[in-house]
């Protein structure tokens, strides 16, 4: 009967279509996979297998030796937004502690009346010589020796209040210990998720308690801090194997004292909202500009104080 045939046709179509989609995974907009699927790439694999096993033909050049710094110098400056500044809508909250926590503003972008930007992270992002005799006195100023394994407590602690982390970005040395406080009466859990080589913790922190955290290793970029009880809570940390870092204050200013001078330094710029601050003019006059990883290079003169004033277009952040 015609009706029966139509039904069977439909059925055949359907089964085929579904089977094809399921088996081949056709999604229409699917993005092509990236794999070793050409003879040239396969050839590359064969070469790299030999190279990694130490049987390659490449030169095996030695690491470039950094010249010694000729003294120390300071870097200070200011970060500012140009263009429209918006207020972000408050964060959605949920759970039993809502009443205690109250409304939680989205404070990822904090500017003052002059549009100076708080919470920009600037840090030295180059590998310093690891040898002990190369460190203090040469690459790291002697004054930083005594704070190498300091315990950051009191005003320098990492605190949480009203279900918000008080620091949006917290920078410390890998060898230091920070007191993570819970100044709330409700309980939190502070989940610090360090990358490979940096400690991760996630203890329950009842109201009024604290926990010590020592990163133990250096990170290449900031890592997240969160709380499972209050999922809107988020912050960032970075641990470094040197003391050359700063986070801008409420007036957008920062200062890094006693940096190695006379050698080319590499700094990175980071802000929570947009992560690496790329293609930013740091010193337009000298054409110093960050690259696509937020890095810029600069050489400081011994005994001098260098000042930078960085203007960020607001559409970089929003």
């Amino acid at each position: 009967m015609p009706l029966e045939h139509t039904a069977r046709n439909c059925w055949v179509f359907l089964v085929t279509a579904v089977a094809c989609c399921l088996l081949s995974g056709c999604g229409g907009t699917a993005v092509d996979p990236i794999m070793v699927d050409s003879p040239a790439a396969q050839q590359g694999v064969d070469i790299l297998v030999k190279e990694l096993a130490g049987q390659g033909t490449s030169g095996g050049g030695t690491a470039a030796v950094l010249p010694d710094p000729d003294g120390f110098a300071s870097l200070r400056g200011n970060f500012k937004i140009t263009g429209a500044v918006n207020t972000l809508p408050p964060l959605a909250t949920s759970g039993n502690d809502r009443a205690y926590c109250g409304p939680v503003p989205d404070d990822r972008i904090v500017v003052d009346a002059e549009k100076n930007l708080k919470n920009v992270l600037i840090f030295l992002s180059m590998k310093l010589p690891a040898a002990e005799e190369q460190r203090y006195g040469k690459w790291i100023h002697e004054s930083y020796r005594e704070t190498e394994s300091a315990v950051l407590a009191g005003a320098a602690a990492f605190d949480q209040e009203k279900c918000r982390f008080k620091s949006r970005i917290f920078a410390m040395r890998a060898t230091q210990t920070v007191k993570i406080l819970n100044s709330d009466t409700v309980g939190h859990n502070t989940n610090v998720k360090g990358p490979l080589g940096v400690a991760s913790i996630n203890p329950t922190l009842p109201g009024g308690s604290d926990v010590d955290y020592t990163p133990g290793g250096a990170a290449k970029s900031p890592f997240a801090v969160s709380c499972s009880v209050h999922p809107w809570m988020s912050s960032w940390m970075i641990s470094l194997d040197h003391p050359y870092f700063a986070v801008t204050a409420a007036d957008g200013s920062f200062e890094i004292k006693d940096l190695p001078a006379g050698v080319e330094l590499t700094f990175s710029l980071w802000h929570e909202k947009t992560q690496w601050l790329k293609n930013v003019d740091v010193v337009p006059a000298d054409q110093i500009k960050t690259d696509k990883r937020g890095k810029f290079k600069m050489t400081l003169s011994a005994g001098q104080e260098t000042e930078i004033a960085v203007e960020l277009k607001s559409d970089l952040l929003y």
Binding site: N9, T16, I34, N96, V211, S234, Q275, R293
Partner: protein
Amino acid sequence: MRRPVTEMNRDTKHRTVRCRGTLCLWLWSAACAVLVMTGCGAEPARFSLNLVHLHSQDAPDEKGQVTLSPAARQNIATVLDALYGTPDAPRLPPLPEPEVLNFLEISKLQRAAGPTGRDDPQGGERGLYRKHCIHCHGANGDGAGPTAQYLNPYPRDYRMGLFKFKSTEGTDTPPTHEDLKRVLVEGVPGTAMPSFKVLDDGEIEALVHYVKYLALRGQTERLLVEELAPEVDGRYLDPQNVVEERKIELLETVATLAGTWQAAVASEVPPPPANWEDAASIARGRELFMGKKALCSSCHGDSALGDGNRDIFDDWTKDFMGPTGVNVSSYAPLRLSTWNEDPRKVLLEEFYARGALKVRPLKPRNLRRGVYRGGRRPVDLFRRVRNGILNYMPYAEKADSADAIKGLIDDDVWHVVAYVRSLPYEKITEPSEEIRFQRDLP
């Protein structure tokens, strides 16, 4: 009523045409099925990059600029193949100190890898991963095989090296060999992961090694994408011009990763107190469960139905849900300007197109069902409370005394376990609307 002859003829004619059409359709579908199933020829099996992670780390900005160029991305696939081989021919990285890779045995990997078959009529089976695991866990170990989207919870994506049900301390430490073996042998209750008890020990061993191999490979890929490759302009390890420093850096990174696997040991579990699971023990456990120190009820709910906080996302989803995932404005890694529109749909579609499974929030366990994914032995439950689960369920630090402001002494952890084990038998009085709804859920 009889129909006129002409009409009947038309019917017959139609039927002939339709019959031919049906035949064509059957032929067409058969051809399609053959093509799909054979994959159009004898292409060797390949690993592919984790596009979801790549996109979360390196989405094009407003100007379409990315940090890792197509050539740099292709090079990451090449480097990974050079380190780990292919799904047909796995390889181990040639580390200067190969003993950190002792947790992987190449002969076992070779047995689990490749197409299914037997070496000879008496020999053991090969291709075990493809026979038993690939439909759910995928060739890359991405937990996104063809059946994955129909399962809840989704199959584990090994590529972060994170496993929930383990005996080791630490939020991101790998599991022990025995932990993974237990999961294979026992399955994961309450999920689609079955028990593979029917396999012999050699087969299970081969599969456990292969899972660890896929995890290490996936972790290496993540580090290449997040840390190593972006520091370099162009290819990280160009076969035509290998930079010695990067070769060393790469092998050191793999060695550090491997060291975490090699060092994985089960945490100590003390014996339970003498009064464990008596009425006082259960009452003490209940007090802690509801209290402000252990904080169990803030997620599992006062009724322990798992109806407390439900707005969190697990590590696998966090790749593209930002650090908290609580609302769209916290999709931090994305640098897209999405101020005036709801970005949820647009952004998620980008990840779905790259193979991500539909986002599901993390659900705290309903403890009244008496089904424990990480195992029902008291020792399993003790470790869940003492060690936590990865980065979402926090752990209870070891306290010096029961009155300490934070942390739990061993006995108190056992009392919490006692209360949890009693929950399936505890009455819920006056259930709220939400509780009734929850209870009806499968």
